[in-house]
């Protein structure tokens, strides 16, 4: 237990550190991809209203230039003037000129085009002259060409301005597009890098976890026989808390003499063979442990004392049938066992008492001449 206590803190500290790094890389990676999405959304938001502003003006008040519409009415007035034969046409001419005036009388035109104000004055003057029939229709139509010329200049200039604005917009869009492309690439690469780091950290953490689990597994195993050790026995008892269990302690009689006569390799071989035999005999429901030296322990589900008695009896009988040779045995040429057993309800406190009781029972078997078993009641 002391050994495991000394090892646990670094292992868990390392795990915590690894988990922290793993989360850091993961969050950095996700943040990069989130930043990429935000950048794309931001750029889209920038582009969309500009597109709306420049390219979706058809069908509304400023979709067609006011100057174009004004020119259209001036030209209609000219047509009427050229074919005017009845006074009733005057009202139509006046109507067209009024509309032309209204569409030209815009502050932005007055500010940017010097011909606007004189043209408005001319329309005003010609309207009065036409109404009063103080001007020949042909002359009036001719005079209106000055207004048409002004309106055409405005139209062309406005188209140029719009073209310039669209060019500026296109340049700006291209710049934003390049910035978006490069930024996206950088952020994407960063995201991949962070994701790679996260994957690397994940693998490291998994490897460390597996190593820890393997270490823990090894720490619970007896390296010679492959069965559980004393720590595993305690852990298993705690894991089955509340269950009625039987604890069987097994000791090989005269094992020192066996080693002395046949050598330690043979002694190790005997331990392995006995472990296999005991496991096979006790069955799948039982678990076998090596407590050290020549001492084994077994845990079996045990509803009553008779079941424990039968298990011990069969253990001794099976070993006798196996007939493992023991040349140095004082009274017998075969390996014999001393077995002490006890039934208990699995708990940490009861296990200590049970172990003590089984050990004493085993000791009594030893005193009584070995090669037998006793169930402590």
């Amino acid at each position: 237990m002391k050994e495991s206590e000394s090892l646990e803190p670094p292992v868990f500290w390392g795990k915590r550190k690894g988990r922290h790094r793993y989360l850091t890389w993961l969050s950095l990676s996700l943040s990069s991809f989130l930043a990429l999405m935000m950048l794309i959304t931001y750029e889209s938001r920038w582009v969309y209203p500009e597109i709306q502003g420049y390219f979706s003006q058809t069908g509304n008040l400023t979709g067609q230039q006011l100057a174009t519409r004004s020119r259209s009415y001036v030209q209609r007035a000219q047509e009427k003037l050229l074919v005017a034969s009845m006074p009733a046409d005057i009202s139509h001419i006046r109507h067209h000129l009024e509309l032309a005036y209204g569409l030209l009388d815009v502050d932005i035109y007055k500010q940017h085009y010097a011909c606007t104000t004189p043209s408005l004055a001319l329309v005003d003057e010609l309207t009065d002259l036409i109404e009063q029939q103080h001007i020949a229709p042909l002359d009036a139509a001719h005079s209106l060409f000055i207004v048409v010329e002004c309106l055409t200049d405005i139209e062309m200039s406005q188209l140029d301005r719009r073209g310039e604005a669209i060019n500026t917009f296109a340049t700006s869009t291209r710049r934003h597009s390049q910035m978006l492309t490069y930024s996206s690439m950088v952020i994407f690469v960063m995201g991949l890098l962070f994701w790679g780091m996260h994957e690397r950290q994940l693998r490291r953490t998994e490897r460390a976890t597996n190593e820890t689990l393997a270490w823990m597994k090894r720490a619970m195993r007896d390296p010679l026989t492959g069965i559980g050790n004393r720590s595993a026995l305690q852990q298993d008892v705690l894991a089955r808390a509340g269950e009625p269990l039987g604890l069987i302690l097994v000791d090989i009689d005269f094992f020192k003499q066996y080693n002395d006569s046949l050598g330690h390799p043979e002694g190790d071989q005997l331990l392995r063979r006995l472990a296999s035999l005991l496991e096979e005999q006790l069955g799948e429901g039982a678990k076998l442990y090596r407590l050290g030296g020549d001492e084994f322990a077994a845990l079996i589900s045990c509803p009553d004392d008779q079941a424990l008695f039968n298990a011990c009896d069969q253990l001794i009988a099976t070993l006798r049938r196996s007939g493992f040779k023991h040349p140095a045995h004082p009274g017998n040429q075969h390996v014999t066992l001393s077995v002490g057993a006890v039934r208990f309800v699995a708990m940490e406190v009861t296990f200590a008492h049970a172990y003590d009781a089984a050990d004493k029972a085993l000791y009594r078997v030893k005193i009584a001449g070995r090669d037998g078993f006793e169930v402590a009641l």
């Binding site: 502003g53 003006q57 069908g59 509304n60 008040l61 400023t62 979709g63 519409r69 009415y73 006074p87 009733a88 005057i90 009202s91 139509h92 006046r94 109507h95 009024e98 509309l99 005036y101 209204g102 569409l103 009388d105 815009v106 502050d107 932005i108 007055k110 500010q111």
Partner: protein, 156 residues
């Protein structure tokens, strides 16, 4: 006698020549499905009870206008504010727009004390009392102002 006849003829010609002008821009057609109604502009003008000073970006200056809250006008004409309205104007401009629940819209009949005419983009004009934070240099931001309104058709 001849002079009297010539004088009468001149007056007749003058009256006849002015009749279509009088017909121009003197009424407003309200269309609600199959039903069509001509409103005399003088009657509409009498309802104008809102006088406000606002900035007209098309004129580049502040003007004092008098008019009718357009939402109230629509309720009076159609019973409620229609989801969309189709406008026809004296310069043959056609447009359908929605969102007329906003009390910000004013139907103007008079500007700086003078009745609106075609040359001042009347006789009826729809403007917004408050233009908020819009850029007054960008006329396209005011392209839902309707000038020279000739007819209003409800679209349900």
């Amino acid at each position: 006698m001849n002079v009297a006849k010539i004088s009468a003829a001149c007056w007749l010609i003058l009256i006849v020549s002015w009749l279509p002008i009088a017909a121009y821009a003197q009424d407003l057609t309200i269309i609600d499905g199959e039903k069509s109604q001509q409103l005399v502009l003088s009657d509409v003008k009498q309802q104008a009870d809102n006088t406000v000073t606002l900035f007209d970006p098309y004129q580049g200056r502040e003007v004092e206008v008098r008019g009718i809250e357009f939402r109230r006008f629509l309720v009076e004409q159609f019973g409620e504010v229609p989801p969309a309205l189709h406008f026809t104007t004296w310069d043959d401009y056609n447009v359908t727009l929605s969102g007329w629940e906003d009390p910000n819209w004013l139907m103007v009949v008079e500007e700086d004390g003078e009745p609106l005419t075609l040359r001042s983009r009347g006789p009826l004009r729809l403007v917004e009392r408050d233009i908020g934070t819009r850029d007054i240099a960008k006329l396209r931001e005011f392209n839902d102002w309707i000038w020279m309104i000739r007819s209003i058709e409800a679209q349900w």
